[in-house]
Amino acid sequence: MRLTDISFNDLRRRKSKMALLVVGLVIGVSTIVSLVSITQAMQADVREKLDRFGSNVVVAPKSDAITLSYGGVSVASASVNIKDLKADDLTRIEAVGAKYGATSIAPKLVGGVRVGDAKALLVGVDLPAELRANRWWEITGREPKGPGEVMLGALASRKFSAMPGGKLTLSGLEFAVTGVLREMGSQEDSVIFADLARAQQILGKPSALTIVEVSAPSSRLDSLIGELTSVLPDANVTALSSAMESRQQRVGQLTSFALAVSIVVLVVGVVTVLTTMMSAVSERRREIGIFRATGFRKTHVAIIILFEAFVVSVIGGIAGWLLGSLFTLALGARLAQISTAIGPSPVLGATAIVVSVLIGMAGAAYPALRAANLDPADALRFT
């Protein structure tokens, strides 16, 4: 017989109480595992998309005028006083972009147009390049395919009551509305996208460009910005906060929330173990008195109590990880709004067991101390 045998015997005797404790730990651990799995998957998804799609760099002329803006570029009105980028600037940007593995180079002309009595911001774009640069765009309808078609941001669509299949008159010219962008909480929501050449024609600026958006791997962004700044001294070269980066920020907030919930769950777990083990120690006063009277040291008694908590928390950790993994496998992808299922992580499993054991040890520490310090004469009711 060893001290651990005494612990196992006691666990067997208190099956129902210990089972309830295991259930409590399973709920706590599975909650933490689910939250961590989902937030980790969301973070990985954002990182992967940022790497795949690249981060965007905007090359724009320097300007002080402020009335309408897009991509950090201020556009006073249709009669803008901005020095446009030149055609050879685009050639230089393309050369630098190729050097740094740019995944897309999307030139744009931005200008004010009239829609009825209202003003609107027209963005002429190279549509294939624009769609490569903004792969997270979700379009209701379809993207424009010719010079007579336009696509609107969600707010612009509402403002001008222009839906896919409808018509929109820009500065006296009629265009077919083929698509509306899903609302993203960004500047794209308020603009009208048209073919670049057609926009240059409407705005009376053939071959002119207001900004060029370059998508490149995040890891090479700083070098790309540095070189573009040096080859284009008259332009502003800045990183553009993309929708993906906004999502990254939201994921960060969710991660903080998950951390807070996990801390609460940890505290509840510790308190649950504490109360259960305290109750067990109270019920075992005489037994502990016998241990101490027959020569068990305080440490021996503490080991018996802590080992019981260890066994329960290991079982709770494993079962909690399995339940949490099953939950995230079944529902995680839907909750995280990602396309791939979230599989079980052995690293998270090991961490879950360690966390569960820490909960168990933290909760059992005080009861073990109380048990170890029980006066044997008092525990046996001699006095």
């Binding site: 017989m1 060893r2 001290l3 045998d5 005494i6 015997n9 006691d10 067997r12 005797r13 005489r286 037994e287 008195g289 016998i290 241990f291 101490r292 009277a293 027959t294 020569g295 068990f296 040291r297 305080k298 440490t299 021996h300 006066d375 044997p376 004469a377 046996l380 001699f382 006095t383």
Partner: protein, 229 residues
């Protein structure tokens, strides 16, 4: 000099803010190999004396030497080691652990020893056979009679071969016949050289002991003469 020597032992308790004197100036000497009964009415202090003898209850004043060791100068953990090496207990109401079998109850003091599991089994089996329970080792306490439970408690007390056995009312919950059987086991063990102190309120039990120490109101009133066994 006796195996157990008590010098001027007193014990005071605080109870509801009042000082209660449980033992007063107890002087006692018990030789190796003695079988001694400690008798007295309820509240006389005999159980307090037993816990002091059991190295579990430091006296307020006085000194106790066992085998020349000043027991209450040892640390708490050293006293635990001392109990393990020197003392075997038979508790009032026997105090068997209900979820352990007879042999597991007997093996309990060995759980902190360096003996292998097999050695522990052999030692526990020998102790149970010594008290005539070799055929009921796998039974739970609830499956044993009162007398059999008493024998398991004695086997647990002797399994580690301590030189001293302390028993607190070991026949208190047993019928006369079974009580006599249990006392006979103590007498047999004493004849094998064990020093045994039995707290009892049953005068019949003194038939088996060599000496009776009477205690009243925390004082030893009569130490009794050593009888021939």
């Amino acid at each position: 000099m006796g195996l157990i020597e008590l010098y001027d032992i007193s014990k005071l308790y605080q109870s509801d803010g009042t000082e209660v004197r449980a033992l007063t100036d107890v002087e006692l000497s018990i030789d190796e190999g003695e079988l001694v009964a400690i008798m007295g009415p309820s509240g006389s202090g005999k159980s307090t004396l037993l816990t002091i003898l059991g190295a579990m209850n430091p006296p307020t004043t006085g000194q106790m030497l066992i085998d020349d060791i000043d027991v209450y100068r040892l640390s708490v953990e050293q006293r635990a080691d001392f109990r393990h090496e020197y003392l075997g207990f038979v508790f009032q109401q026997l105090q068997l652990i209900p979820y352990l079998t007879a042999i597991e109850n007997v093996m309990l003091p060995l759980a902190i020893s360096k003996h292998s599991n097999k050695e522990q089994q052999l030692m526990a089996t020998a102790a149970l056979e010594r008290v005539g329970l070799g055929d009921k080792m796998k039974r739970l306490p609830s499956q044993l009679s009162g007398g059999e439970q008493g024998r398991v408690a004695i086997a647990r007390a002797i399994v580690n071969h301590p030189p001293i056995i302390l028993a607190d009312e070991p026949t208190g919950s047993l019928d006369t016949h079974t009580g006599e059987e249990v006392m006979q086991i103590f007498k047999d063990l004493n004849e094998e050289g064990l020093t045994i102190l039995i707290v009892t309120h049953n005068p019949e039990n003194t038939r088996y002991t060599q000496r009776t120490i009477n205690i009243r109101d925390g004082r030893i009133v009569r130490k009794g003469a050593t009888k021939c066994a």
